[in-house]
């Protein structure tokens, strides 16, 4: 081999260091298994309940699935940014009212809400379009007001969000020409959010929220949650990444709101306030706010617990004890206990993945021990 060739070869070697094989960090068990497992659990439970065909249980599942969409949207912002987003439930309310107004027929609107603006009365969209449009309204409101709020962090950030919730709630409860004011807003017609509609949307939202978290944008946002200054000096504009997540979160909240109003069929502004926020927050905290799996299992666990406690409450009340409200107390105390001893929730802030399951399985740990043993022997040799 002549010298020139050798030199050029060397130069090529310098220019292109051996490309790292990173495929193992992007394989199925790491990157996608979480979504598949969560969706599988939801669909299996949903199918089983549909097959059982008991309206009471079907209702619990449908309502629970709508709540799941709410907690996922809440987790999208709070879990990744670390800012307690009180105003979230306000966007759920905006989506609920907006999509209801879009989907109701003019005849029903004139009858139910005679004070409504004429241009809103004549607006009529099919349910899926109305649902999306409602979510877009919530998102637009968030997009307009959020930018100056996103530079605020920690307690200040949470307090501003709280003040914002008050503003949204008063708007919803006093704007008679749109929301029928403090009176009940009745949708009329039949229930459009069926078990399968809620399930279908939930599946899409699980996918969206998980891949948002794993995306470059989501990763940057999680970095700002852990250390704002280090993120800034790494080139991250934390106002911008927070803003994107906040607006996306409002969209999912609006979507959940639309499903909710077309499920429950009569809403008031009070349906989207403190007690609902407390419910969502308790689910995310108990599950573990930093992971999508946390929001998922938190919702599952707290929904089951609340149903159980409600039955206990009913039983006690029937047998002469005054026990109303005890469900909320138990859930609140549970939340406090978690915050003291297990602040990262039952999932510990991690995602449930095929890898984490394999590790727990006895065969998995055996294999690992074997690998460790081999390593040790190699080191000895």
């Amino acid at each position: 081999m002549n010298l020139a060739k050798k030199l050029s070869n060397q130069q090529e070697n310098i220019k292109q260091p051996a490309a790292k094989d990173i495929s193992q960090y992007f394989d199925f068990s790491r990157k996608s298994s979480t979504v598949v497992i969560l969706i599988a659990i939801l669909v299996v439970i949903g199918y089983f309940i549909w097959w059982l065909n008991i309206p009471f249980i079907e209702d619990i599942f449908t309502a629970g699935t709508i709540t799941l969409i709410m907690t996922l949207g809440f987790q999208l912002f709070m879990g990744n940014s670390g800012i307690l987003n009180w105003s979230y439930v306000g966007y759920v309310g905006i989506g609920a009212f907006a999509s209801a107004i879009f989907s109701m027929t003019p005849a029903v609107k004139t009858m139910q809400i005679p004070t409504m603006y004429p241009f809103l009365i004549n607006l009529h969209l099919p349910f899926p379009v109305a649902l999306l449009a409602g979510a877009l309204v919530a998102m637009t409101v968030a997009a307009i007001i959020a930018w100056p709020l996103m530079r605020l962090s920690d307690a200040v950030g949470a307090i501003t969000q709280f003040a914002l919730l008050i503003v949204i709630n008063v708007m919803l409860s006093q704007w008679s020409q749109v929301t029928n004011g403090p009176r009940t807003f009745t949708l009329g017609g039949k229930r459009l959010t069926t078990l399968w509609v809620a399930l279908g949307v939930a599946v899409l939202v699980i996918i969206a929220v998980y891949y948002f978290k794993e995306s470059s944008l989501g990763l940057k946002l999680r970095a700002t949650r852990d250390d704002r200054y280090a993120a800034r000096s790494s080139g991250i504009n934390f106002v911008a990444v927070r803003y994107c997540a906040y607006v996306a979160s409002a969209f999912i909240g609006g979507l959940a709101g639309g499903l909710y109003s077309h499920y429950i069929l009569s809403i008031t502004a009070a349906s989207f306030y403190m007690s609902e926020l407390f419910m969502i927050l308790s689910m995310v905290v108990i599950g573990g706010s930093m992971s999508v799996s946390g929001a998922f299992f938190g919702t599952l666990l707290v929904t089951l617990l609340r149903q159980f406690l409600r039955q206990v409450e009913l039983f006690l009340t029937r047998s002469g004890f005054e026990a109303s409200g005890s469900t909320e107390i138990v859930v609140a105390v549970l939340m406090i206990i978690f915050l003291i001893w297990q602040a990262d929730g039952i999932t510990g802030g991690r995602e449930l993945s095929w890898r984490s399951i394999k590790r727990r399985l006895p065969s998995g740990s055996k294999k690992r021990n074997k690998v460790l043993k081999n390593k040790k022997q190699e080191e000895k040799a």
């Binding site: 990173i22 960090y25 990763l219 852990d226 250390d227 280090a230 000096s233 790494s234 080139g235 504009n237």
Partner: protein, 243 residues
């Protein structure tokens, strides 16, 4: 021929409530060089780093990297032009994995996801964190957290890196290891390094030039051996160590 980049600071000033923290400081650096920034406690070294990276607003002066006037940019734009830093008090993303921590450095300057992962894996292996890629950063030892911060900074593929007391809290053995990792970097990675450090052994072994601050003012600059014998430096800073 490899073109060199230049980082230069001209007549930089910063006061805190009347106290001059940085007083008319000028310095410049080319890629391939290591500049040691030394001085007694409270002499303005960290303030200077904060000013250079835009984390603090300067009162007056110019900071430029090649033709870019980075002194007028928000802190999050500075890495895009090739200037990154580490912190004296470790600032890592404790809930993210090592891989994700290092990836942030690359993603922050607009590198694509896969490419960022490739860079991050390469750097983590290079710095000896290869077997800890999946661990959450908060579970690492102090030494590994320091190295992780350096990996994150390097993942941005910078032209200049500012290290704020990288050996603080490390024992002698770990400091030697850090030295052997940093020593080849100016050439292998074609970067310029500004290092703030109290460990004189590290400084003397690593730096081509030293820049000495006292009460925010430059009191000496030049080759390490010259600076070491400068009477003013001996008086202000090395006094106890030299005697």
């Amino acid at each position: 021929m490899e073109s060199k980049s230049t980082f230069s600071v001209k007549e930089l000033n910063k006061s805190f409530a009347g106290l001059k923290a940085v007083d008319n400081v000028s310095l410049h650096l080319e890629t391939g060089e290591v500049l040691g920034l030394i001085g007694p406690n409270g002499s303005g070294k960290t303030t200077l780093i904060n000013l250079m990276t835009g984390m603090l607003d300067k009162d007056s002066g110019h900071i430029s990297l090649d033709s870019h006037n980075i002194g007028e940019m928000p802190a999050y734009r500075v890495p895009f032009y090739g200037l990154v830093r580490t912190y004296q008090t470790i600032r890592i993303f404790k809930n993210l994995s090592c891989l994700e921590n290092a990836m942030i450095g690359a993603l922050g300057v607009g590198t694509k996801h896969r490419e960022a992962a490739r860079l991050a894996v390469g750097l983590l292996e290079e710095l000896g964190l290869g077997d800890k890629i999946d661990l959450p950063a908060q579970s690492l030892t102090f030494r590994d957290q320091r190295l992780l911060e350096i990996a994150r900074a390097l993942a941005a593929q910078p032209k200049f890196m500012l290290l704020d007391e990288p050996a603080a809290g490390l024992n002698e053995e770990e400091t030697d290891e850090l030295l052997s990792l940093l020593k080849p970097m100016p050439h292998s990675k074609k970067i310029g390094i500004i290092i703030v450090e109290h460990d004189m052994r590290l400084i003397m072994n690593l730096c081509n030039r030293l820049h000495v601050l006292n009460y925010g003012k430059t009191i000496a600059e030049g080759k390490p051996e010259d600076v070491r014998n400068n009477p003013e430096v001996v008086k202000a800073y090395l006094g106890s160590a030299a005697s």
